[in-house]
Amino acid sequence: MMNFSGKRGHKFAESPVLKLRLPAWRSRLMALLILAGFGVLIGRSFYLQVLNEDFLQEKGESRYRRDLQITASRGRIADRHGDVLAVSTPMKSIWAVPADARLTPEQTRQLADLLDMDAKELSKRLASDKSFVFLRRQLPPEVGDKVASLKLPGIGQDREYRRYYPTGEMTAHLVGFTGVDDKGLEGVELAFQSQLLGHPGNRSVIKDRRGQIVEDVGSIKPPQDGKEIRLALDSKIQYLAYSQLKQAVTDFKAKAGSVVAVDAKTGEILALANWPTYNPNNRERLTGAQLRNRAITDTYEPGSVMKPFTAALALESGKVRFDTPIDCAPGRLTIGSATISDSHPHKVLSVAEVIQKSSNVGTAKIAAMLSPEQMWTMFDAVGIGRAPGLGFPGEVSGRLRPWKSWRPIEQATMSYGHGLSVSLMQLAHAYTVFAREGDLIPLTLTRADAGPVKTVPVFSQQTAREVRAMLEMAVQPGGTAPKARVPGYRVGGKTGTAYKIEGGQYVRKYVASFVGFAPISNPRLIVAVMIDEPSAGVHYGGDVAGPVFSRVMGGALRTLGVLPDAPLPVVAQNSQPTRGQL
């Protein structure tokens, strides 16, 4: 202000500077410079507001707008009745941004208590120079809430899921398990990964200073939870199969074993149990043997359980009838340089008795009436050498060599189940042709709600019925598996006692198996049992696998509510002995 009047005492308008005669270009230059300055400013603002608009918009939005992810959970896996076999529950993971997490010793102690960690360990982690550290993962949500209520700076939490398997080791092989990030690693978890997986949604919101959501902006993408998979499995039958298998493996000091139960009407897999198994909820220290789903991924030479197929083919092609006599004496048969023998020599047996008493010689003689091509076609038709097509990881197809390379001795051994290999699941599948009216039904892991499926006819109805009668004889007195009988029901089935091959040589180790179905009058259920290397004295399929079959089948038929079709033995002491047979 003072300067207007100035120290020299003259008025501003009379300033001597104004009186100077300055060259005109100086003022023009100034005007030009100022104009240029304006030009630059206008250009810059044009650049920011029009050309490069997004940048500032984004910067602005980032001050208040937040993109949130909405987590989606993985689908459940349930059995046919809806009992949960695998379920995801939300857990919390607690993380820290060490640079922001400046906690007082008291706060550190509180947090360590909640996380069940050592306070020293916690402060060490908080002192790390990383920009982000997980403090603890997979914590129960209540703990997460408590941590949140401490309102600690730099400590946050995320929602994540943990998979639980309430049935544990009982269904481990079928259900499988997931790894990190909900990725299915085994079993159904892997096979149905794409359906089980949930797709997270997201939304953009405006948050206020206190971090509360004020409003939604833009569109919301809702999360899609994974689909629930309803398996065909029946928990009760599965439990029966599992507990009986476990018992048998222990009793017979076997190495391993499997049980498969299939609904003959629908092709649904009602039970699939393997031993040894593991607990999918706690997978530290797993061995390969525990993980193996033997019923599906392991093949073995089935042995005598294949005999009914040879007999059925001979019946079908009209080479033999049910009661055609086959001379099995003297219990040995030499083909080329090799000799086939029976463990118990027989004399003349009918075709039915060959199956009932499981004569290798008799079966080889029946097979000699058939051409290799015929046999191959039949084996192929019932699914030998082809994966069952369940979509299950690691499904094997077994081995069936092309018929052109069969030598006569091989054709003979294949007729009783040596020289070809199958998985237990394939065997159970193949037996559907006998349990049904000669047609093969595709197997399914999931509940078959879609109605009847297309079946492939292999044998005639007549053949299937005759083979059923032979298989029923096998469990009756004089057969190989009287121990497989089920009280109250007519059952049929075939034993198998096969030598194992080690290093290309047959060794004195056995695989005992039994495949059968019931009730004979209208078969509903197929149960296949395989016990690997029983070593407690007995090793015959009828003695080792037969009782397992009997107990699983009996319990399962009761569970399914199948009417008994066999007359019950009348017990003298029973006061009302005949009521059950009315």
């Binding site: 009982m170 004020v214 599965q238 439990y239 019950l568 009348v570 009302q576 009521r579």
Partner: protein, 90 residues
């Protein structure tokens, strides 16, 4: 002229206040729905946990153990089983 302006000014003030109140209402409603959705999520979590608990209690081995040991139940002798069919009930 002045009167029209005054009326318009008044009208615009009313509108402005209306916008403010409705915005406030919208936000409080929004917060309410957010809170409800949070509750829904919590209930869902709880449901999942209860379901897990249920299926853990209801596993077959446990049922069998209780039936056999505590309730002393056993499978009846086949001869003592009477099958009721529809024909019998008639």
């Amino acid at each position: 002229m002045v009167r029209t302006n005054l009326v318009l000014l008044l009208a615009i003030l009313m509108c402005a206040l209306g916008v403010v109140t409705s915005q406030h209402k919208a936000r409080s409603l929004f917060q309410a729905i957010e809170a409800e959705q949070e509750r829904e999520r919590h209930l869902e979590v709880e449901f999942g946990q209860l379901q897990l608990e249920l299926s853990t209690w209801a596993t077959s081995p446990r049922i069998e153990k209780i039936a056999r040991e505590k309730l002393k139940m056993r499978t009846p002798d086949p001869a003592k089983i009477i099958t009721a069919t529809r024909e019998v009930s008639r």
